[in-house]
C-alpha cells in the first residue's frame, strides 16, 4: 500500500519536474528565436539596393551603409589572414607533436585564459601594442590583428579537436608506406580533419565580425565619406556603426537602425549556417 503510494507519488514528481525543466528550456530558446524574427520583421522594410550599396549622408540619418559592410568584410578577412594559419599550426602542434607534460599544460591554460579575456581588454592591448607601440595607428591592420588574437583560442581548440578525431591508424599506415611525418599530417590528417577545422574557423571569424569592443580604439571610425584605401586607414564597421547610430546620433530614423541590425545579423547568421552545414555534412559522410 505504502510502496504503491510512494511510487505513484514519485512518478508525479517526475512528470512535474520534466515539465518544469522543459519549460525552462523553452524559455531559454524562445527569446533567441524571438530576437531574430523581430529584427528580421522590423528591419526588412529598410532593406533596399540603395541601403546596401549607398553611402550614408545627412549625418548618417539617410542613405546606405556600404562603408560599414565593406569595413566588416575587410576586418573579418584581415583577422583570418593572421589567425587561421597560426591557429591551425598551433592545433597541429598540440595534436601531433606535443607531449603530455608541464609545457603542454601551460599552453592549454594559456588558450583557456585567452578565450576568457574580456573583449574590451583586447581593445586595450591592441591600442597599447599595435596602435601606439608599433605605430600602426587606428587602422584596419591594428584592428584585424587585435581581432585575430581574440579568435585564436576558438580556432585552436576546434581545430585540435577535429585533428584528434582522425583515427591513429590513418597515421600509422601513412608512415609505414614511407611518408614523412609532415607529409602524413598534410596529406592525410589535415585532409580528413578539414571540415571540422573549417567549422571552427568560421565560428571564430563569426565572433570577430560581430565584435565591437576590440575595434573601438584600434580601427573603428565614426564616419568616413569614402572606402578605406589601405590597411593603414581606419574603417567603419557594422557592429560599431549600429552602436553609434543607436546611442550617439540624436533623431536617428528607427528604420535605419533596424536595417543595420538586420544586415549585421544576416552577416553573422550566414556564417553560422555555413559552419553548421559543413559540420553536419561531414558527420553524415564520415566513414570512420
Amino acid at each position: 500500500m505504502m510502496t504503491k503510494f510512494l511510487s505513484r507519488n514519485r512518478h508525479t514528481v517526475q512528470r512535474l519536474g520534466f515539465s518544469f525543466i522543459t519549460l525552462m528550456a523553452v524559455m531559454t530558446v524562445l527569446p533567441i528565436v524571438g530576437t531574430i524574427v523581430y529584427i528580421l520583421v522590423q528591419g526588412g522594410s529598410a532593406i533596399s539596393w540603395d541601403f546596401i550599396t549607398g553611402f550614408p549622408h545627412d549625418g548618417m540619418r539617410a542613405g546606405g551603409i556600404l562603408p560599414a559592410i565593406i569595413g566588416t568584410l575587410y576586418l573579418t578577412i584581415g583577422s583570418a589572414i593572421f589567425s587561421v594559419p597560426l591557429g591551425i599550426a598551433a592545433a597541429i602542434y598540440l595534436s601531433e607533436y606535443a607531449k603530455d607534460n608541464q609545457w603542454t599544460r601551460l599552453i592549454r591554460l594559456a588558450i583557456i585564459n585567452l578565450a576568457g579575456i574580456p573583449s574590451v581588454v583586447y581593445g586595450l592591448f591592441g591600442l597599447g601594442l599595435f596602435v601606439l607601440f608599433l605605430q600602426f595607428g587606428t587602422s584596419i591592420l591594428a584592428a584585424s590583428l587585435t581581432l585575430s588574437i581574440m579568435t585564436l583560442p576558438v580556432i585552436i581548440s576546434t581545430a585540435e579537436e577535429s585533428l584528434r578525431a582522425v583515427p591513429q591508424a590513418f597515421r600509422t599506415v601513412s608512415i609505414s608506406l614511407g611518408a614523412t611525418r609532415w607529409q602524413t599530417i598534410r596529406r592525410i590528417v589535415l585532409k580528413e580533419a578539414l571540415p571540422g577545422i573549417l567549422t571552427g574557423v568560421i565560428l571564430g571569424l563569426e565572433r570577430a565580425a560581430g565584435e565591437t569592443a576590440p575595434i573601438l580604439f584600434t580601427g573603428a571610425a565614426f564616419f568616413l565619406p569614402r572606402l578605406p584605401q589601405s590597411p593603414f586607414d581606419a574603417t567603419m564597421a557594422l557592429p560599431y556603426h549600429l552602436f553609434v547610430i543607436s546611442t550617439q546620433v540624436p533623431e536617428m530614423p528607427i528604420q535605419i537602425q533596424y536595417g543595420t541590425a538586420l544586415v549585421l545579423l544576416v552577416f553573422v547568421l550566414t556564417m553560422n549556417l555555413i559552419a553548421t552545414v559543413i559540420r553536419s555534412r561531414a558527420r553524415a559522410r564520415r566513414q570512420w
Partner: protein, 298 residues
C-alpha cells in the same frame, strides 16, 4: 631531393612548434602591455583615492569602487538568471529531450552565443528597457536589472554547452545502475547524473560568470552608465556603470599617457586578473574531476 625534403620538413616542424606556443606568448604580451600602461596609475593616484567611492575623472577623482560594485551587482543578477536556466536547459538537452529536439536546440543555443552583443544592446535600448520601465514603474528603464537580464542571456550559451558536455560524459552505466535499482529518470538525474557531473557543472557556472563580467557593449548600452555605488539589492533597479563600460566609453576621449589613460588601463589590468583567476580555478576543477573519473573507472 632527399636532402631538400628533410630541410623543408625541418623548417615546417620548427614553425609548427613555435606556433604551438603562440597562445602563451600572447597571454604574456597582453599582461605586459596592461602592466606597462596601467601601473603608472599607482604612482600618479595614491591607492586610497583609487579605492574611493567617487569616479569623476574630469576633476581627477579616480575612485574605482563604484565601477567594481557596478560590475559585481550586474554579474550577480546575470548569474541568478543564467545558472538555473543554463543548467536546466543543459539537463533538458542531455537527459530529457528526444534526439530530433536535441538536434534543433543545440545549434539554436550556439546561435545565441554568436549573436553580436551590440545587437542585444540595441534591442535592450529599444524594446527591453522601455518595457521594463513601464512594467516595474521606474524613472528609467536603463538599470542594472536590464543589464543583468541581457547579460544572463549572453552567459546562458556558455553555461549550457559546458554543463551539457559534463552531463554527457557521465558514463551511461551510472544511469543504468540507478534505473535498475528502481529510481525514476527524474531521481536519477538529481541523485546520480548531476552529482556525478558536479565539477563540470561548476566549471560551466564559473565560465558563465567570467563571460558576464567581461561583457562590454550590452552593459554599456543598457545600464545607464551612472558611476554610483551599488551597495544594496535595490541598486539593481537604478543605473550603474561597470568596469568594462567605463573603459569602452572613456578610452576614446582621453589623451595618451594622461593619468585618466593610465587608470583605464589599470582597470583593464584588474579585469584581466579577474578573468585569469576565474579561468585558472575553472580549469583546475575540470582537471581534478577528470582524474577522479579516471580513478573510479579504472
Amino acid at each position: 631531393m632527399e636532402k631538400s625534403l628533410n630541410w623543408r620538413e625541418f623548417v615546417i616542424t620548427r614553425a609548427i612548434k613555435a606556433s604551438g606556443y603562440s597562445a602563451v606568448v600572447f597571454v604574456l604580451l597582453i599582461f605586459f602591455f596592461l602592466l606597462r600602461e596601467g601601473l603608472p596609475a599607482l604612482s600618479e593616484v595614491d591607492a586610497s583615492s583609487l579605492l574611493d567611492i567617487r569616479w569623476y575623472p574630469i576633476e581627477a577623482y579616480f575612485g574605482i569602487m563604484p565601477l567594481i560594485t557596478g560590475s559585481l551587482i550586474i554579474t550577480l543578477g546575470a548569474a541568478l538568471i543564467a545558472v538555473p536556466f543554463g543548467i536546466g536547459t543543459a539537463v533538458y538537452i542531455s537527459e530529457i529531450a528526444p534526439r530530433w529536439m536535441r538536434e534543433i536546440l543545440k545549434p539554436l543555443v550556439e546561435l545565441l552565443g554568436g549573436l553580436p552583443s551590440v545587437v542585444l544592446g540595441f534591442l535592450g535600448i529599444l524594446v527591453v528597457s522601455p518595457y521594463l520601465r513601464v512594467l516595474l514603474d521606474l524613472p528609467t528603464g536603463l538599470t542594472a536589472f536590464t543589464g543583468s537580464l541581457l547579460l544572463g542571456g549572453i552567459a546562458v550559451p556558455t553555461v549550457v554547452s559546458v554543463a551539457e558536455d559534463a552531463l554527457d560524459s557521465v558514463p551511461r552505466a551510472y544511469r543504468e545502475g540507478a534505473w535498475a535499482l528502481g529510481a525514476t529518470k527524474w531521481q536519477t538525474i538529481w541523485r546520480v547524473t548531476l552529482p556525478a557531473a558536479k565539477s563540470g557543472v561548476l566549471t560551466a557556472v564559473m565560465l558563465g560568470v567570467g563571460r558576464a563580467i567581461g561583457e562590454t557593449m550590452t552593459v554599456m548600452m543598457v545600464t545607464g552608465n551612472a558611476p554610483v555605488m551599488a551597495t544594496k539589492l535595490g541598486s539593481l533597479f537604478s543605473p550603474v556603470r561597470t568596469m568594462t563600460a567605463t573603459i569602452a566609453a572613456e578610452m576614446g576621449e582621453v589623451a595618451n599617457g594622461s593619468t585618466h589613460y593610465h587608470v583605464l588601463f589599470f582597470i583593464g589590468m584588474v579585469l584581466f586578473l579577474i578573468s585569469l583567476i576565474v579561468n585558472i580555478i575553472a580549469s583546475s576543477v575540470v582537471f581534478r574531476s577528470k582524474k577522479r573519473a579516471e580513478r573510479i573507472l579504472s
